[in-house]
C-alpha cells in the first residue's frame, strides 16, 4: 500500500511529531515500501484464530495493596529540565486564556 505525504503528516500529527517537508517526503517513500511488504499477511488464513497479546498465559496478575519504599519526590523532580515550583513541574499553558 502506498502512503501519501498527506497521510504521513496526519500520522505525525497523531503521534505529536514535528516533521520537516524533507522528512515528510522521505518517510512517505520509506513507509510505502514497508506497508507494501506488510501485505504478505493477507495471504495468511486467520479464520477463527484468536489474537495473541500475552505469550505465557498470565491473566489478571495483582499485587498486595501496600506502600513500599520508592524513589523520593526530590530525586524525581531533579530529573526535569523545566522549572519546578511548589514541588510541581511548570509547563506551557495547556489551555489558552
Amino acid at each position: 500500500m502506498k502512503i501519501s505525504q498527506e497521510e504521513v503528516r496526519h500520522v505525525a500529527k497523531l503521534a505529536r511529531l514535528e516533521l520537516s517537508d524533507k522528512e515528510v517526503e522521505k518517510f512517505a517513500g520509506q513507509l510505502s515500501s514497508v506497508f507494501e511488504y506488510m501485505d504478505v499477511l493477507s495471504e495468511a488464513d486467520t479464520e477463527g484464530v484468536m489474537e495473541t497479546s500475552q505469550v505465557t498465559g498470565l491473566e489478571n496478575v495483582s499485587d498486595k495493596d501496600e506502600v513500599v519504599a520508592s524513589v523520593s519526590r526530590e530525586d524525581l523532580l531533579a530529573c526535569t529540565k523545566l522549572p519546578v515550583e511548589s514541588k510541581q513541574i511548570l509547563v506551557k499553558a495547556a489551555i489558552k486564556k
Partner: protein, 477 residues
C-alpha cells in the same frame, strides 16, 4: 598466564577465590583494554573507571572477609547496555532525547548484580531505544565489528556483543525484542541468551515492545551464560509479567551431552533466503551433534514467512504507545520552551527534535496501524498471525526437544549497507523474530567462520522456561 580481561567469569571467580589476583587487578585490565580499543570499536558509550575501581575494591573487601554473599559474580566486571537504568550513572538509550539523563533508581537486574557485588565498567552502545539491527541508529555512532572494522557488530545490543567479543569484559547485559541479543552475538562470534518472555525482570529497562521485550546477556562460554542466567532470573514484584516459575540450577544442565536429544531443523530456516555458506556451516555443527548421539528430525514452521510483517506491525504499535511518555516534561531533553506556543506545540517540537529517524519511522508505523480504519486490517490481523506462529512451534515441539537454525541469514553486513533501506534492515531479523513472537528462549552459539573471516552463529530454541535445554545442546555445539 592470560591477561585478566581475557578470562571467563568462571576463571575470574576461581582466581579470586584462590587469591591469585584481585578484582581491582581484573577490573584494571578490562579498563585498560577498553582504553586501548574503544576508540576504534565504539562498544562503550560511557566508561566509569572510577566507579568500577571503587566497586572492585568493595568486592575485594568482601572476598577477603569471606563474608556471606560472596558468589560467582562477586568482583567480576560487566558491561551494561545503555538501556538499563543505573542509579547515578548516565543512561541514554543512545537517544539524543536522553543524552544526559541520570536515573534516580536501578533496574531490578542491576540491583541484583549490585547485591552480588559485581563491577560495573560502564554503559554499552545500542541502536536508539533498541530500534535497529546494526547499532547504526545510535546517537553515539556505530559500533564496529571486532572481526572486521568495516562491518557492523549487529544490533540493537551491538556494543555489549562487541565488548565481550573483544575481551573488554567477560560478560555483558543486553535486551532482545526481535533478535537484539542473538543477532549481534552471532555477528561477533560469542554466546547470547534470549530468555523466555518473563524469565528475567524488565523493571527499569526502557520499554520497546512490551509483549516481546526480554532481558538477557552475552558471554564467551555456555558455562558463563548459565551462571548469569541463574543470577538474574526470577519473579519480581516490579514486573508483573515475571511468573513465579522456579529458577533451576542452570549449571546442572551442563556436561550432560546430547545423546538421545531430538533436534528439529525447521526447513524454512534452511531455505534459499539464507546464504548457502551460512547453511553449510550450521549443518556442519548439526552433523557434529548427530555424531554425539542427537537424533535429527526435520520440522516445519510454515508461518516463518509472515514473522517479519507480524513483528513490524505489533512492535511499532507497542513502541509508539511506550514512547508517548517522552514528552520532555518529567525528564529528557526539551525544545526551548520559549519556542512553543502552548503545551501541545511543546510536545511536537520536543519530540520532533529529539527522536532519530528510525524512531520517528517506527512511531509513525505504530500510530498508523492503530489508527481508525486500519486497526483490524493491520494490528488485529498481525496478532492473529502471531497465534499461528505460536501454534507452529507447539507442533514442532511435539517432534523435537529443541530446534536449531541459523541466527541470521548472513554474517555481519557492511557499515552503511542497509541503513537507508529500512525494509532490508527489517528482513535481517527474519530468523530471530519467530521465537520472539512465541516468547521462547533461544541461545545463539558461535559455530564457524565464513570464508571472509566473519563469525557464523546458530540458535537453539526451546519451549517456554526450558532455557536448560538451550544450554545443554549449546554446550555440545
Amino acid at each position: 598466564m592470560a591477561k585478566l580481561n581475557e578470562l571467563t567469569i568462571g576463571e575470574v571467580a576461581s582466581g579470586l577465590k584462590a587469591k591469585k589476583f584481585s578484582s581491582v587487578e581484573v577490573t584494571s585490565d578490562c579498563l585498560k583494554r577498553i582504553l586501548e580499543r574503544n576508540k576504534e570499536l565504539n562498544a562503550f558509550v560511557l566508561v566509569d573507571s572510577e566507579g568500577a575501581l571503587k566497586m572492585a575494591e568493595e568486592a575485594d573487601k568482601r572476598l577477603a572477609s569471606g563474608a556471606a554473599g560472596v558468589g560467582v559474580l562477586t568482583g567480576v566486571p560487566v558491561g551494561i547496555k545503555d538501556i538499563f537504568a543505573t542509579r547515578g550513572v548516565r543512561t541514554t538509550c543512545c537517544s539524543p532525547g536522553l543524552q544526559d539523563f541520570v536515573p534516580p533508581y536501578d533496574a531490578t537486574v542491576i540491583e541484583k548484580l549490585r547485591e552480588a557485588c559485581a563491577v560495573f565498567l560502564g554503559k554499552t552502545n545500542m541502536d536508539e531505544f533498541a530500534c535497529g539491527a546494526s547499532t547504526e541508529h545510535s546517537f553515539f555512532g556505530v559500533t564496529k565489528n571486532p572481526y572486521n572494522l568495516d562491518k557492523v557488530a549487529g544490533g540493537s545490543s551491538g556494543g555489549s556483543a562487541a565488548a565481550v567479543a573483544d575481551k573488554m569484559c567477560p560478560y555483558s547485559l543486553g535486551t532482545d525484542t526481535g533478535g537484539s541479543i542473538r543477532q549481534p552475538a552471532s555477528f561477533c562470534g560469542i554466546y547470547g541468551m534470549k530468555v523466555t518472555y518473563g524469565r528475567v525482570s524488565r523493571s527499569g529497562v526502557t520499554a520497546m515492545a512490551s509483549s516481546w521485550d526480554t532481558v538477557g546477556h552475552f558471554a564467551r562460554s555456555v558455562d558463563d551464560i548459565a551462571t548469569v542466567l541463574g543470577a538474574i532470573s526470577g519473579h519480581d514484584r516490579r514486573d508483573m509479567t515475571t511468573p513465579d516459575v522456579s529458577v533451576p540450577d542452570y549449571s546442572g544442565f551442563l556436561g550432560k551431552g546430547v545423546k538421545g536429544v531430538k533436534i528439529g531443523l525447521p526447513k524454512e530456516y534452511f531455505s534459499e533466503g539464507v546464504e548457502k555458506e551460512t547453511r553449510d556451516v550450521v549443518m556442519k555443527a548439526v552433523a557434529k551433534l548427530e555424531k554425539a548421539g542427537a537424533k535429527i528430525v526435520e520440522v516445519s514452521l510454515p508461518t516463518t514467512k509472515y514473522a517479519v510483517a507480524v513483528y513490524y506491525i505489533c512492535m511499532p504499535a507497542e513502541l509508539s504507545a511506550n514512547l508517548a511518555r517522552y514528552d520532555g516534561i518529567r525528564y529528557g531533553e526539551i525544545s526551548s520552551a520559549d519556542d512553543a506556543s502552548d503545551l501541545v506545540d511543546f510536545y511536537f517540537k520536543t519530540r520532533g527534535k529529539f527522536f532519530g529517524d528510525e524512531i520517528k519511522r517506527r512511531i509513525m508505523i505504530g500510530t498508523y496501524v492503530l489508527s481508525a480504519g486500519y486497526m483490524d486490517a493491520y494490528y488485529k490481523k498481525a496478532m492473529k498471525v502471531r497465534t499461528k506462529i505460536i501454534q507452529d512451534f507447539s507442533e514442532a515441539f511435539k517432534k523435537a526437544d529443541v530446534l536449531i537454525g541459523p541466527v541470521s541469514p548472513f554474517p555481519a553486513f557492511g557499515i552503511g549497507e542497509k541503513v537507508n533501506d529500512p525494509l532490508a534492515m527489517y528482513t535481517a531479523d527474519a530468523l530471530t523474530i519467530p521465537a520472539s513472537a512465541a516468547g521462547l528462549p533461544s541461545l545463539a552459539c558461535p559455530c564457524g567462520m565464513s570464508a571472509a573471516g566473519l563469525p557464523i552463529g546458530l540458535q537453539v530454541i526451546a519451549p517456554h522456561f526450558e532455557e536448560g535445554r538451550c544450554l545443554q545442546v549449546g554446550e555440545a555445539v
